[in-house]
Symmetry: C3
Subunit: 322 residues, 3 copies
């Protein structure tokens, strides 16, 4: 695999257009921290399958336009070339494109909105990185979250953009489980896999397997951490009595998956101590996801990966944990 | 003009009361980044006209009490003398006074509230400047926004202060344009001018012209940026299908005006690259203004210049843009 | 008193279990900034009395489990030993335990929730301290506030945890006083004392006297500042027309009490200038408490000590005030 990668890299060295494709693929890969064009390609395949299976091909286009617009903006702004080549200026753009095309009805203004959001996500990435380097912290998907929240909130004041797939505003009220959910291996496996595919806003088991392949191609540890984090999130959510539909749809597990991969494999050395620390963070990310869902109920927008960002920052900052 | 200014400055050098007036006028001028007492005097004339024309003379008094209380607090706290002389401890106080007197019914408690808010705005300015100097960032109107939001929110729990002109709490819901707005030059010019006067919470074309004169007296570039930013904001809001009344009242344009002036003339060297970058930020500030309006709907308070502060910080931080 | 303390300290030096108890008592003491095990013991007695008198003994257990879980987590994470010994990793855990056991119905999941929250409060404390040391700022009770808000918000999405004592979500609307409250010395004294006991979420005058004793045993100045801050908060809230029940229950005064103690005795040198500065901050904390109460109305969670944290940070940051 390393041989094929270095072959691809020498191809890129001699071709501008291939280099552009490489940067964008790495941008897609960086959504799950993988600086590897093959990870990005497999992630794209998963997005394509998930979009096709759900009958929403525009979501794939949203992601493609988002990552390309982000990369072009980064070139225009002359960002740090090493970070750019590693795809660090692309992953927020992909997510902005996927999210906007998921929640807003298609139309010419949607595409303009995706380009605007992706461009601003690059500025926000640069700004966030600049602030956080004071403490050696990574930006994570904060630029995606803050920019997309604003773009989605604004749709409620803009007749040109219809947020047809956004949640309806609700009143915060106690939740009572209608009936005890039966524990069932099939449902457990599905919930675990969809927790992984929902990182890219997709609810598809086939997409989930493609995402896992994309992780494994660059880091088997990351794939293991994703599965373990998803399973732990599903168990935690079940024990705390979360709504069944949210659990089985993977909607309480995608932020914990990112927390598990980030703390268990990317930013800490592997080991039992790291694993225990990452597990604590993963469990708390489930609570944070439930909390964000409630807090955003009156605003009628989704939490996106906000809970992952907040919890991972809190758990990355302490020196003693490193 | 420079000669008159240096004449005024030598007058001030020999008189304590004149120096006090000079500092307060510069404080008013700094609402739009102009360290010039004549700018401040013209801005005050605009506020006076706007308050008189709208039948709310107390708003002018609110602004005067706010800036004076802020300057006196700054003297008591022994802030940096150079920043004080440049009016940097006054502009948040003016805005606190204007905003409180605009949204709260007059009465003795209102004036106590203005003095309290203006005094705290100075502490908040000092605190914000201290935090942001880590990244070489300006405080902008953040102290005004955070202090005024708290003072306005609190009125809903305090019978002594009636926020009679505050918005009513609403439920976030999709917005559908009632009818296509006719594009009309008169309306476009009015919307552009009111976007400028709303920086000081005034909806008056005559006040807008006085504000532009106040800018031009110190920086023709700033006046041009204000008009260009306002026009760009009006066009953007119209294309995205924003509510007509908000556009024509200048209520989606005042934050973008400040973004355009800040990024186009104050903090970046002039040029095509700066102008393009400022234009991107200005367009996004329109989206941010719509987003803040929606996010604050359940809380029944206005966005003030929060969108300007957030977007301008995001666009000022990246090193590549400088 | 100093002799008894040094006797206790030499006892602790020779016994692991006593040292563990000492650290936890200091953790309780640090809720009001007192690094003294006797302060902690008196605070615990106050919590015990308040819980017993209100018929909620589980609240005492919540606090005890919270502080012990926090201390054990801090040991596991190998935090700075000097800070640990001073109780700085325990006070957020106590508060998490008290708050969760106050607002959530008892049951096995509650205790798991307390342990989770206390453990995460230690990570959050370490993270907050790491960020804030850039400006020499203390973490205050921010870790408690942010972690508890998330844990309480999440209960609305988790059937396993019933937030039976949480407020009901409401719509922000103008508040009109039903009738003028009669000024009465008995009510004034009660409101002042309950403002002190509510720092630990208790509404009991006997508990308040025990808390004052706990302060005085380590710092008479702190006890005086607590009483003065509480009285000033009650007067301010009354003059501004706040709801009588909130005033007499001490619910607008507990954050100002902490502000007064922090700014008047802990972080600034004593003196008239410090006192005036602390008084301004205390008055503004009343406004901030009312504002947080309103802002959290749609989210149906309490403000906790969030207003104290925000206002004290704002007033601690400016260099000129020191």
């Amino acid at each position: 695999m390393k041989k094929i990668l270095s072959g691809w890299e020498s191809l890129c060295a001699s071709s501008g257009p291939l280099r552009f494709i490489d940067v964008n693929l790495r941008g897609v890969g960086q959504v799950m921290f993988q600086d590897n064009p093959f990870s990005g390609a497999l992630f794209l395949a998963a997005i394509a399958w998930g979009s096709y299976a759900a009958g929403v091909p525009q979501v794939l286009f949203g992601g493609l336009i988002g990552v390309a617009a982000a990369t072009l903006t980064a070139l225009w702004l002359r960002v740090d070339p090493a970070s750019l080549r590693a795809g660090l200026y692309g992953f927020n753009g992909v997510l902005v494109g996927l999210a906007l095309a998921t929640f807003i009805a298609p139309g010419p203004l949607l595409w303009a909105y995706v380009v605007l959001g992706a461009a601003v996500s690059v500025v926000a990435m640069s700004a966030t990185a600049d602030v956080l380097k004071t403490w050696g912290m990574p930006a994570l998907t904060f630029p995606f979250v803050i920019v997309t929240w604003m773009l989605l909130l604004a749709t409620y004041g803009l007749a040109g953009l219809a947020g047809t797939a956004l949640p309806t505003a609700g009143v915060v009220a106690p939740f009572e489980s209608v009936a005890a959910t039966r524990v069932d291996l099939g449902i457990f496996v599905q919930a675990t896999l969809l927790s992984i595919s929902q990182v890219f806003l997709k609810g598809s088991t086939i997409a989930a397997l493609l995402f896992l392949a994309g992780l494994a191609v660059n880091s088997v540890a990351a794939a293991v951490a994703a599965v373990a984090g998803a399973a732990l999130a599903v168990v935690t959510a079940h024990l705390l009595g979360a709504e069944s539909d949210l659990i089985t749809g993977g909607l309480l597990g995608f932020s914990p998956v990112l927390t598990a991969v980030a703390l268990g494999t990317v930013f800490n050395p592997p080991g039992l101590r790291s694993a225990a620390y990452a597990a604590l963070a993963t469990v708390f990310t489930v609570v944070a996801q439930a909390a964000f869902n409630v807090a955003l109920t009156p605003l009628a927008i989704p939490a996106l990966t906000g809970p992952f960002v907040l919890v991972t920052w809190i758990f990355l900052l302490p020196r003693p944990a490193r």
